[in-house]
Amino acid sequence: MADIDIIKDENIVYKKSKVLTDNVMHYCPGCSHGVVHKLIAEVIEEMGIQDKTIGVSPVGCSVFAYNYLDIDWQEAAHGRAPALATATKRLMPDKYVFTYQGDGDLASIGAAEIIHACNRGENITVIFINNGIYGMTGGQMAPTTLVGMKTATTPYGRDVELNGYPLKMTELVAQLPGTCYVTRQSVHTPATVRKCKKAIRKAFENQDKKIGTSFVEVTSTCNSGWKIPPVEANNWMVDHMFKFYKQGDLKDSEKDNPDDYKKFIE
């Protein structure tokens, strides 16, 4: 095999996770989904839990997440992933169960399910991709769309009078006693990718400790929906999304001072 001749073991500095399948991803170039998938796959591989992990995929762009991570998956109805994860974890407490949800799925149609799963303190991990827009259906307004942001259903920009305010789900679940770890990350630079991976790993490891729900928001871009090229989209995210969706840990129940989170709850 030619590949083996070229790529000698001693030359390898980076390898695709074994938990990622060989399927070609359907995501648009520049999309954050692929990076986050990779991080989850690496965490699962590094923790050695491929045979114990059940993923719950949403409706939205990541509906086909099951094609990319080589684990057992349940495909949920729109918004219901936390209900599925609840039952799966309760019926098989020794498994690692996570939901992978976008903002339309988690913050809009599935708002009740995520609030109640977090409030019950289900020992699950929630990965929340927040790009402020519905990607799959062609760029409509999401609950997380920023004020003034143009989408297919807010062609003149999100108007508070008409559409209300963007919803900070992550701040919301951080207030619930059932959550043990709530953080907001991104994957637009190598440094943030590394940080995000650490957060995801922690969110999975928390399932061993049975201390409640771990919630990782990944503030993301949607080049197609935002109609901005990838690099500019990253800059736009930093300039606009990060102002509203502040990056960092909102809650870590293992750290001592609960007052630390208060600054995020404004």
């Binding site: 998956w73 349940q74 109805a77 219901r80 209900a83 039952a87 019926l91 498994k95 399910e113």
Partner: protein, 362 residues
């Protein structure tokens, strides 16, 4: 012989679940079936059999919890009443589409809308003719006694797993709320992980081990050719059920000139009507469908060859009567009688309807 008890139908559902090795119940309170979850919470089966019981935030959540539990190869169930079951329809069609086994219980109350909390049988269309979107059927069992509330929990799970299809116990407020003598089933242990592997190991999401491919539970297939094949496979199961799983009871049909067709609590009232009618010299019998899907079409067609008319008695505006008419295929008159909105017809009213609509009819 199990224990003899005097119990409400709803309580019996809970006891039967604990005794048949059910792994999980996910529910949401609604009258007239709240005793199911109340009984489970009182008995705390998680301390004995290990059964999980959870009050969900909505029927939408509870049916999706059932979807997930079924995805894991577990014996899981929910119960609700009409408005709650309407909310569950999305989940039910996903469960049918993903070909998952589970048990659903509908203790029907009168509608439409919030309607009443009194008994009705007006969810026949929803249960047997669709409910959610897409081509699918539920296996539908219609208990007519508290004893059958016990028996059909086990039977429902058995059929659900045999066909990998959701099964529904279509009860009503009368059967749910009334007490009768019941012999509870003996305790069966829950399936072990090994047993689950044996029964559902080829598809359940129990964790992808190195020796097998990943298992994906989904009802999504964007390629139409493939989706048509899936539909054909699902339809083939329904045809097999129609061949092998039809259940019904015939009461005093041997010499009957007229037939009541009725299920559930209506079939009980019709038995009293038979006593009254026969005392008047009217030879009437009862065909009681036990499975509403698959429907006892052939049995009804056979009776139509030798009786003069049939009256479908339902606590609805006339839903099951469609299936009676399809089975009879125009051979003899078929009429409907029912009361609506939570009113239970009296035995006398039913005899009167038989006399007026069938015997006196043209």
């Amino acid at each position: 012989m199990g224990e003899l008890k005097l119990m409400k139908g709803n309580e019996v559902i809970a006891h039967a679940a604990m005794r048949c090795g059910c792994d999980g119940y996910f529910g949401y309170p609604i009258t007239p079936q709240s005793e199911v979850m109340e009984t489970l919470m009182l008995k705390k089966p998680w301390e004995t059999t290990g059964m999980v019981v959870l009050q969900a935030e909505s029927e939408v959540a509870s049916i999706n919890m059932v979807y997930a539990g079924a995805s894991c190869g577990k014996k899981v169930m929910t119960s609700s009443s009409s408005p709650g079951v309407s909310l569950m329809q999305e989940g039910i069609t996903y469960i049918a589409g993903a070909e998952l086994p589970c048990l659903l219980v509908n203790v029907v109350r009168g509608g439409p809308g919030l309607g009443t909390i009194q008994p009705a049988q007006s969810d026949y269309y929803q249960t047997c003719k669709g409910g959610g979107h897409g081509d699918y059927n539920l296996i539908v069992l219609a208990p007519a006694s508290v004893q059958e509330m016990n028996d059909f929990v086990d039977l429902g799970f058995e059929l659900a797993f045999k066909y990998r299809n959701p099964a529904m116990i279509l009860s009503d407020g009368a059967i749910g709320q009334m007490m009768e003598k019941v012999e509870l089933s003996d305790f069966k242990p829950r399936w072990t992980d090994e047993e689950i592997q044996k029964i559902s190991g080829s598809w359940a999401t129990t964790g992808k081990t190195a020796d097998r491919e990943q298992h994906i539970i989904t009802s999504l297939e964007l390629d139409s050719e493939s989706m048509e094949k899936i539909n054909h496979r699902i339809q083939a199961k329904y045809r097999k059920m129609e061949e092998e799983e039809v259940r019904y009871e015939e009461i005093q049909c041997e010499d009957a000139e007229y037939i009541f067709v009725a299920y559930g609590s209506s079939s009980r009232i019709c038995q009293k009507s038979i006593e009254i009618a026969r005392a008047k010299g009217i030879k009437v019998g009862l065909l009681r469908p036990i499975t509403l899907f698959p429907y006892p079409t052939k049995a009804i067609a056979k009776l139509a060859e030798r009786v003069k008319g049939m009256l479908s008695v339902e606590m609805s505006a006339g839903q099951m009567v469609d299936d009676v008419r399809l089975a009879v295929n125009g051979k003899i008159p078929v009429e409907h009688f029912g009361r609506l909105g939570g009113i239970i017809p009296t035995p006398d009213e039913i005899v009167e309807a038989l006399e007026q609509k069938i015997i006196g009819g043209k």
